[in-house]
Symmetry: C2
């Protein structure tokens, strides 16, 4: 099934034709068979509480989702780690004290897959979003995917996206064509801060701005280096895309402030209109070429970004929600999108493993177990430390459930997300998930079940090369996954095999989609000449014996090897 490029039409299509019960992953049914009766009884109580709240406020709860980059467990929300790491995030920490601090929030291994998972409630392996989009990746979120914005729009929610989208550079992936009423977004990541003249001047090793370089006497090909991209796009639902400002470093530095102002304005406007809203503000957080005064004791990109940028914004959001009188009808979720950039980080950047081994790109806990917290005064009990497993795909299903929009979730595909309303409202031990499948790129790297973890492939394909074989781990006593317990835990071999086979057999019924590729940055009203030129081959290449743009449609055929892929470990 394909859906038309217009997000608006796609929404109508997606939410009307596909109604039916959610198709979960196989493992969920195993849990439901054993706990379903208890859960149904619990649901009665949850519904009563949510109804009372709706009675009081007149709308279902608002949802604010703030998700930043590359942060290790404990770098936010745990002051005794922050003291060591040289940062302080008083608002985020207060939020944790007044709400839930999750100790087992799992994400995907990298930015693009993580964001795709939140938006679709599906592991990115299912929709081809498992790669990390880089400059002119020519790839993005498929129109056929039904996003959280589409689901919530159907329940009358106003929806907005502000910040780092990083879900593609092809037109169908644009945020305002994926269901958001308003969107202000980047197609790529913080490397946009380096793709600038100012960065070329500062380190001159990129070669993007050739006029700043000596001429190369050996140069034969003017088409090799990419020309033309877009730093920020903006648009409203189903409408035209417009580039915001230009691709300069000055523009880059303004993104977060602009996104934050738009989010606050959106909240104020919708609160006054008494319309329930969902806003995702995913900050850029930092620049790879930081120029501002340092604010943290850690002095580094990560710490300064969290303390100086993200944290004050979270404080501002909480204050605005309080001032508007809607804090008690708003769920605020703040989290990182994946583990720290532990491999090949910029020097002095402050990214570091904390308690877990590995980081971004790794299926080790360090890659996928992130700081995460939820705040909802009056509904979420304060001061909770939650030991349950939750996965970011669950936010999709849970937000839909809170909005009364579960019926708009498509029923023709696997939704990995599980409704975790009980965990939010009843707290510790009330998760409805005890498992996670962790993909690194298109490969299933590991499976978690309760305190146990099965590595399916060697554990450190891109790191220091620990030489540890795939194996079985008991996470509480070996959080760093360094000591596979081949003897003690060999009794888990068959159970893990059974789990994986069920997971893969289920895919025969509900197959994965490959990556979606296309010409980048089409459909922009004010496109620069360089961007426009991306859609047609350079004149000088017109006479080639093959179509110079043909390759784009075949990009998904590249072999994927996480050990060789520069997107992993970057």
């Amino acid at each position: 099934m394909t859906k038309p490029l217009s997000g608006l039409l796609a929404f109508v299509f997606a939410t009307s034709a596909l109604a039916g019960p959610i198709v979960h992953d196989a493992e969920y049914y195993v849990l439901e068979a054993q706990n379903g009766k208890r859960w149904a009884a619990e649901d009665d109580g949850l519904r009563a509480r949510l109804s009372a709240l709706r009675e009081k406020f007149g709308t279902p709860p608002n949802i604010v989702h703030i998700m930043w980059d590359d942060t290790a467990y404990g770098d936010v929300g745990i002051p005794a780690i922050q003291k060591v790491r040289g940062l302080d995030t008083p608002h985020l920490n207060r939020m944790a004290r007044e709400g839930i601090l999750f100790t087992r929030m799992y994400t995907e291994v990298g930015c693009t897959p993580s964001r795709a998972a939140c938006m679709t409630g599906r592991h990115p392996i299912r929709n081809g979003m498992y790669n990390i989009g880089m400059l002119r990746e020519s790839h993005g979120l498929r129109a056929e995917e039904v996003t959280l914005a589409e689901v919530l729009s159907g329940a009358g929610y106003a929806t907005a996206f502000h910040g780092k989208w990083h879900l593609g550079d092809i037109e169908e992936s644009y945020a305002h064509l994926q269901g958001f009423d308003e969107a202000f977004f980047t197609g790529y990541n913080q490397i946009l801060s380096l793709w600038t003249r100012q960065a070329e001047q500062a380190n001159a090793t990129m070669g993007l701005f050739e006029d700043l370089l000596p001429s190369d006497p050996y140069k034969l090909d003017d088409t090799f280096i990419t020309k033309g991209w877009v730093t920020v796009l903006e648009g409203t639902k189903g409408g035209a895309a417009r580039q915001w400002l230009d691709n300069s470093y000055a523009t880059y530095e303004k993104i977060d402030a602009e996104a934050q102002d738009r989010t606050i304005a959106f909240i104020e406007k919708k609160a006054k209109a008494k319309q329930p809203f969902y806003v995702a503000n995913w900050p850029m957080m930092a620049s790879f070429m930081p120029t501002a005064k340092k604010v943290s004791q850690g002095r580094s990109l990560l710490q300064d970004g969290l303390q100086g940028n993200v944290d004050p914004f979270v404080g501002r959001v909480m204050e605005v929600l309080n001032d508007l009188g809607i804090a008690e009808n708003t769920l605020l979720v703040c989290m990182a999108d994946n583990g720290p950039m532990a491999h090949n980080p910029p020097p002095g950047c402050g990214f570091a493993e904390t308690i877990f081994r590995g980081g971004k790109g790794d299926f080790l806990e360090g890659g996928v177990r992130v700081p995460a917290q939820a705040w909802w005064p009056g509904t979420i009990e304060p001061g909770q430390l939650v030991g349950d497993i939750i996965h970011e795909v669950d936010l999709f299903t849970t937000f839909a459930s809170l909005a009364g929009a579960t019926d708009a979730i498509p029923a023709d595909r696997v939704i990995d997300g599980i409704d975790q309303t009980a965990l939010l409202l009843n707290g510790d031990t009330h998760s409805r998930r005890d498992y996670v499948f962790i993909y690194a790129g298109p490969n299933l790297g590991a499976t978690v079940k309760g305190p146990y973890k099965r590595h399916w492939i060697t554990s450190d394909p891109i790191g220091e090369g620990s030489g540890i074989a795939a194996g079985f781990f008991f996470l509480p006593s070996d959080t760093r996954e360094k000591s596979p317990m081949l003897v003690n835990l060999i009794h888990l071999k068959t159970p893990f095999n059974r789990m994986r086979i069920r997971h893969e057999l289920w895919k025969k019924k509900y197959p994965d989609s490959p990556e979606k590729h296309g010409i980048p940055w089409t459909g922009i009203a004010n496109a620069t000449p360089e961007v426009k030129a991306l859609a047609s081959p350079p004149a000088v290449l017109k006479a080639l014996p093959f179509d110079p743009l043909e390759y784009v449609e075949h990009l998904d055929e590249l072999p994927f090897d996480p050990q060789a892929d520069p997107d992993f470990g970057e």
Copy 2:
């Protein structure tokens, strides 16, 4: 100077003849020159507060020091790490909430050096205690060292030691001959749990109990394998030593309960007598052959030891202090002796790095930066997270200062400890130390100054072999010491060189003492025949062309290479 073997005489000698101002390490004088005036003014306030307390209770404060093994930062006192690691220590965590949680408590790299540092206020390099004592090490704490027990005895304190001493097997090192009024102690570590018939039967790979093994048809030498040692000794100050029970596993399992009961009884008795007291209870905590029911979600040696053994005891101590009405006149310090056993741990033991890299034996932060907390209701402000550097040697000087016994600290040697009373009473930012010299064995591995760290030798001699060169690190942004900043921090080269050279020049004036070796387990009233035999060569070796025991006095001449030494990384 040597002191006689009798601890009682030694004490009189040590504390009368050596009076004078403390000789600090060179670096301290650099700090004092810049901060001395401010510190002196601050001291007036501190003295007034301590006088008022003494007025109220009639004695200087009591001191209880509980120090266990091999625990990574955060495994105690930080619930959000404990949730991940599968343990809960409610009493220790309450203690942290009601007092200080130190985020930069440094220790020595291993058990023996760490304990020697606490007892003498000196880095073990200065007194030959830098090795980790193993079965029949034939080595121990020199009589010439002036221990904390000796210093505090001179100020009228009752003193007791209960638990894991691990400061030697030679007579002069026995705890009751090193100044304690009463002592119940092990000369070695938890490996005593393996040196038992029960362990030989369970894994049969040690070869200590040869009657449990098949006879070896190739065996030529009956003297190679050590026979004769002592699991627990007891004694009172200057008196005879007696072995407590035998060397069986059943005895091992009773050590902590007995030590805990003796500590509680000691506290009750001294409180009733209104005598100020100092008691060190350093638990064995765990067994390398655990047989009891598991109590922690982590199921492992470390977690079960902390949750099931140490934590309830800490709770019991706090309760007893409260019940006796002396909690407000008692300083309780609880901490680990060094980082986790990250190298070659027993399988499934639960030792793991948390936020820092490395563990026991390493000069990396993971080896020497430990969980530590201080509790003193009414005097220490509750809920403090202290970011200052403090080192376990400072406990020596600080405890002496609180007891009014600073004059008893010997003035003929370097005391690395600094009086940290201001840090305890005034909290965060009131440390009088911004540096640490970290030795691994006899080698200076690294130097810390504020947030910076200089590795003098490669950082991972025994670990996974990261291939990282010696270099400069900025700890907040690189807690795991993985990214030496040779360019950014090269401006620190001369300052660190200057610091090290001053440290070493000072040693020319106050030289280090070599290791002290001797025949183990002499002077025991109820010695077994096997133990008695240690002091004389086996009859069969009487006719050798050399003295079969001569080697003992030359043990300190062995070359030390941390890469080859099995004591490091064990």
